[in-house]
Subunit: 222 residues, 2 copies
DNA sequence: ATTTAAAATGAGTGATTACTCACTTTACAG
DNA sequence: CTGTAAAGTGAGTAATCACTCATTTTAAAT
């Protein structure tokens, strides 16, 4: 079950990797430079002239490909948002979860491992995303719509199913999701953003995290 | 016990409230305007002219009181950092926790309720703090030093004591802290930043959060 | 009423900003 | 080789930026 899910999850990750297809060499350099500078200094504090300089390109070239500076930002972040939630939007999402003997624990483990790898490979862009979502209504709206309708509904059903099975405690599904997501994202932030310099036993901490969530959500006995 | 701790926690909050003492009327207006604009558009995207305008003050007045724009930022955020960690730096911190029959649960409840109230009253500044910590080395250093030496060490000891008592599971204390803090901060972010428009049953969610942490950290039986 | 220092002002500073555009270079189809 | 459209250029633009400073206003002590 776990293997099946992981395989399925990882599959979709490489779907949209036909980007950079029609891109010029210099355009790619611009994107890479922009990602570095944006993540380093923040969007508002980054100047197009600095991006051009780091990309080894004339400033005008940037505006050939991207109408505005904000357009450049969106072009960087938007595809990553899609990829981020891609596994949860899969049409086969439900099928996999309705397999014979799935456990919430397996679901968690698959999600954590898979999305951790994704985070590791898209650290800078995710950092930009987190930083700019509060200030860019476009991004915010895009994100809320994607997450809200597609992902939240599906995961809510997953939670409700596990609750009926008696696998996890009967509290509002949104609370279950909140507690799970908090723990997982907290793990990611600590691992990659806040204390990346610590030598993490990633395998151990992953299991501790899953164990924490599972026991935290397991039914109570008097 | 719980009452004792809460009282003690809340006491210290009002200690440093002798600010705004030697401040001019216009200086206060500047601070308030800056807080609003910074939290709304982000530090880098805010202009001193806009702050001056919103404060009903000449732009030069800002620089009478604050050498630079960054100085204005620090003057806003730094005191809030101190207040934020104030309860954990108290000299009587240990005494309270070593009282007769303290439970980790009581400790959590006191901290959550108290710091939640603090968050509610300092939402905008905390938002600025979160946003700017990655980009302001001064703030980052100040924060890390305060938290790292003072708070982390103390809480680590608290955790270790509960572990010896058998109240919570025997895993690395840092992991205990990570999991607890993730859950609590996740609660705060969801409540105040991400979905403040939802009508929260704050009392219920607080207890769910405590319950989740306690069961997640309780010793395991085979 | 006079003195005096702090508070406040706002026009002015050079630097930097995102962005434009007339022009040159490149790449490739015929 | 030639024609042409796309890619790339960089000097130039007005606007805005954080910050200065000579001057005026305010307020409190004498």
């Amino acid at each position: 079950m776990s293997e099946m899910m992981e395989q399925w999850l990882t599959e979709l990750l490489n779907v949209n990797d036909k980007e950079e297809a029609k891109m010029t060499e210099k355009q790619i350099k611009i994107l890479k430079a922009a990602v570095e500078i944006f993540s380093e200094k923040g969007y508002a504090a980054s100047s197009t002239s600095e991006i051009a300089q780091k990309a080894g390109v004339a400033e005008g070239t940037i505006f050939r490909h991207y109408k505005t500076k904000k357009d450049l930002l969106i072009s960087i972040v938007a595809p990553t948002v899609s990829k981020l939630i891609a596994p949860f939007v899969l049409k086969d999402f439900n099928k996999v979860l309705e397999a014979p003997y799935p456990k919430y624990e397996d679901f968690l483990r698959a999600v954590i491992k898979n999305r951790m790898e994704f985070a590791r490979n898209n650290l800078q862009i995710l950092k930009i995303l987190i930083q700019e979502i509060p200030f860019q209504p476009d991004l915010r709206e895009n994100f809320k719509q994607s997450i809200g309708k597609q992902v939240l509904e599906r995961i809510t059903k997953v939670v409700e199913r596990y609750q009926k099975e008696g696998t996890i405690i009967s509290i509002p599904p949104l609370s279950v999701i909140r507690l799970s997501v908090s723990t997982i994202i907290g793990f990611f932030l600590a691992r990659f953003i806040l204390f990346p310099e610590l030598d993490w036993d990633e395998e151990l901490e992953t299991e501790l995290t899953i164990d924490f969530i599972m026991h935290g959500l397991s039914p109570r006995y008097e």
